[in-house]
Symmetry: C2
Subunit: 219 residues, 2 copies
Amino acid sequence: MEHLREELDELNRQLLEMSSLVVDSITQSVNAAVNRDGDAASTVFQNENQINRLEIQIDNLAFQLLALQQPVAVDLRFVTMSMKINNNLERMGDIAVNIAQRALSLLSMGPMTPEVDIAYMAQIAQDMITDSINAFIHRDPELAEAVLKSDDAVDNLRDRMYNDVLKFMEADPQMIHPGIDYIFIARGLERLADHSTNIAEDVLFFVRGIDVRHHAAQI
Amino acid sequence: MEHLREELDELNRQLLEMSSLVVDSITQSVNAAVNRDGDAASTVFQNENQINRLEIQIDNLAFQLLALQQPVAVDLRFVTMSMKINNNLERMGDIAVNIAQRALSLLSMGPMTPEVDIAYMAQIAQDMITDSINAFIHRDPELAEAVLKSDDAVDNLRDRMYNDVLKFMEADPQMIHPGIDYIFIARGLERLADHSTNIAEDVLFFVRGIDVRHHAAQI
């Protein structure tokens, strides 16, 4: 039992390390895209290997825990939540890499000033990410619920951005290539928001034992 | 023990049902995009709710199995593999919905004949999907390994397609909107291939107990 507690603490510790790496990658990828910062993109690529290694390490620890300690009740919910959050975090790290690649592609095209405001959309997505991870760290269901409510805002901003980008692409063929980069960055931010929603749902299941995915409660 | 066996069989049965629905959605979404078939897109939207319900059902069954039966060894690996494959399949269903939406957007723009060959890329991605699911159904590690080898082919085809699309977008502003739809369809196919790779990796971990993600064996 002592041993179980230690391993659960270790699992929690590794997930916090993973969260902090992934948040760093996302912050740097957004910096790269919004502030045209090439060094920030490099940090994202450097983090990637470590995130991939940690994902496997956490997954193996969770599996060993299930196999050898056979946790029950809240401990079992914690382990299965950890496996899911781990998987979401790894994908978020991949998305940060995609955003950083698009940021470098934009940088390589030299200075341009298209009328695309990604900073605001990026801020909302980043807030969702931080809140979902804080909801996990502090086991805070209210914060998790707040994350679920923000998802529509990101989708609306994405639609507006698509329309802006489409307009400037149609006005100037030179803007087509950078426009596609912007569209993929917006898509990346949208998917980061989706993963934050997934994490928030997992936290709610863990804290309350209620499954809120796809309005499961109403089915 | 008898009860454990029954529940494992039930978990397997539900995963097969989920697989078959998701493969149907992917096939219909590709039909919608390649053959400009609007009815096929409708089928994808109809499948979505059922896929979401099944995801939750399978996840709950797997969790109950862990909680009440405390499976060990190969049975535990089967349950954790099921949770992961279930998650991958649900995301693949979402991607099929995205592809179907882009196909409808293309349809709404009337007849066009851009020089974009998505049929071949779609075929390779679909083969990977079917193979990864068959590798799971028949617990076939050779087939799973074949899936891992196909991933580069899809990435190469995607790069070629991006370049083709970029060219016709630059030549004719009318092609910008449909071009973006094609780019997202290619991106969807690429992500479907990635999920097939994930499933193949999970099958290899299940059959051989070896983790092949991110070349984990070499770390």
